[in-house]
Symmetry: C2
Subunit: 95 residues, 2 copies
DNA sequence: TGAACATATGAATAAATGCTCATATGTTGA
DNA sequence: TCAACATATGAGCATTTATTCATATGTTCA
């Protein structure tokens, strides 16, 4: 399997996004259902600002998507790739 | 699926290791076969020192293993988890 | 329209981290 | 044993990055 350096660079960028405990915890909090920003912040004991900053990064990486409902914005996992990647990682960590 | 914060922390640490282009390129260079340090360095146009430092991190994370053969030390992927994780990541990046 | 609420964002700071340089450790063969 | 080679390692530096604080943007409802 031969891969272009550009693809490997993108791949590293992707894993870098997963490689932060705040972001992983945010992603994990979205495993079951969508959540709004203040909900995530409260659940994880984080600042609203900190959560927003990380949500932005997660969104730019297309790992989550959002929808507005009134004053709140609900975030959810973008697709099952996110679950698969985290699942594979967990297998390695949990053994 | 409920996960302990400690496990999520470990998970982030794991992804952090994958989240560097040098380390990803090293891992990728080991996909087919084991390689010694100088070989990796030459193939990827990196310093011997830089490679050694990163190999140490990869080894501590149990992503690679090593065996000595004379003056050289050959590194190889630790198990198929590494391939799986990278594979899942590639699916997301390549679409 | 204007408070009150929810979220986003920019700047600044502190901490983490990858690379380089110099050098140490380990191995072989003469 | 010692020179030559392969790899490992520590310190220092430069860059990246996560968080905080202050504030801006966007939405609702009275």
């Amino acid at each position: 399997m031969i891969k272009d350096d550009n693809i490997l660079y993108d791949l590293a960028e992707l894993f870098k996004v997963f490689g932060d405990s705040t972001r992983i915890r945010i992603l994990f909090s979205l495993f079951e259902e969508e959540r709004c920003v203040s909900d995530i912040a409260q659940t994880l004991s984080l600042t609203q600002s900190a959560v927003s900053h990380q949500l932005k990064i997660l969104k730019q990486s297309k790992l989550i998507r959002s929808r507005r409902d009134g004053k709140q914005i609900y975030y959810s996992l973008a697709d099952d790739h996110v679950r698969s990647i985290i699942g594979q990682g967990l297998e390695h960590v949990e053994e």
